[in-house]
């Protein structure tokens, strides 16, 4: 009698834990890549951040990306200093994030290898300003490991980023690409 009760409860535990993992699979990474390009014909302005924090929920497509502004690396140290101090004010506003949904997550089959087009909608908070953005990308699944890649463009003035050289040396519109391999 006693053993059967133990068995039942064990079964229940297993059943529930199986349920939870099925229903609420969260994919995450802390080493995603975010890059941007604000080059103009006069000057190359590009930077990369390899410490992008991202998570998404497989069943409802809820997705977040977060980067530290100071984590962006430039080829030119002085440009990096100017980016942080004069344009992004990264001491005051250290972080940028995107919170939204992969709207067509149901079309991605995580059990089957392949490349699936995805659409993202959400709010981008940058330089303390939040705006709605949409991005298109692809979700590659290989051996159960998803890798998401996408890009979008933002206008610096929408995020209250101002400065002498914007529109001259710095492009007023910046292309952002994100690439994350999840676990």
């Amino acid at each position: 009698m006693k053993t059967s009760i133990t068995k039942i409860s064990l079964l229940v535990v297993i059943l529930f834990s199986a349920l939870t993992s099925e229903a609420q699979k969260v994919y995450a990474t802390k080493t995603g890549q975010t890059a941007f390009n604000a080059s103009s014909p006069i000057e190359k302005i590009a930077a990369v951040n390899n410490q992008t924090d991202s998570k998404f929920v497989a069943d409802n497509g809820q997705v977040v990306f977060a980067v530290l502004i100071k984590g962006f690396k430039f080829e030119n140290q002085l440009m990096e200093d100017h980016f942080n101090e004069n344009y992004m004010e990264s001491t005051k506003l250290p972080k940028a994030d995107f919170k939204g949904y992969i709207t067509n997550i149901k079309e991605v089959n995580f059990a089957k290898d392949g490349s699936y087009p995805v659409k993202l909608d959400g709010n981008l908070t940058l330089h303390g300003v939040t705006n709605k953005v949409s991005a298109a990308g692809t979700m590659k699944v290989a051996g159960g490991v998803p890798e998401m890649e996408g890009s979008f463009k933002i206008k610096l003035k929408d995020y209250n980023v101002t400065g002498l050289y914007i529109g001259e040396k710095i492009a007023p519109e910046v292309a952002i690409t994100v690439k994350c391999k999840y676990q």
Partner: protein
Amino acid sequence: MRSLNKQKIMVMLAIAALPFSSFAQIDLFAEKEEPITDIVTATFKTTRVVNGHSIENVGAGILDFRILHRFGQFSDGAYNLFGLDQASIRLGLDYGITKNWMVGIGRSTFEKQYDAFTKLRLLSQTTGGRNFPISVSYAGTMIYKSVKNTNTAYVPYESDRLSFGHQLIIARKFGDYFSLQLTPTYFHYNVVPTKDLPNDFKSLGIASRIRLSKRLNLTGEYYYRFDKIPGYQNSLSVGFDIETGGHVFQLHMTNSTGMTERTFINETTGEWGKGNIRFGFNVSRVFTVRKPKEFRNKAAL
């Protein structure tokens, strides 16, 4: 006995259901954010305040070619166009081995000095997750005087041309608009002008940066000598750091002639009160020798 078992089952069921209920409400938007530890950067705008080292290093893989230039003294009058006829120059190459360690060499017209230094960041000021109030660096300098010997009563050794300096650089950035730095300095001369003088000289530097606008900063630097060679003054310099797109241009007024630590700290001849002030500038041109790893093999970016 039976009822106890039932109780057990209920408890187990409850425990089993717990993770389910908590997992069911996963909301990535509501997740608690970890506090961010922010390493303070740009305490000073460049690696020199005016003559002396600032807390800053050049970036890893960056070669910095610096031309430091001082004209003659205002007090020389109109005949020398208030000093503009004369010049004292130090040409230097600085290189960042890592982001915390740089080395440099230089050649000065003053005494035909060659100098080499190393500067190492030991501690960094941080805010946010982990707070640390100051940044600390060590700078070590070796100076070789190559000017030909004048006739002296004894034949000097080659090592007499050398002097060695050690500096501890302690700095704090108080917000975007004000930075302060203290620089305890110790210098050893292998030979000194007279035999009653000590060979070791202690001094304390104080330097500051005040931001006037996004691209213009006011800087000041003063070195107080605890051990003095008679006839010399304390070094006082004030200047502007002007940031242009590619580099920081420094313009300043100083009573020092030489630009190596030994010379401007311990052997400054000019007196501000007598108008022995020199106009000078530092220009710097940086070259990326080794790209950051993010940019290697990445032509597309």
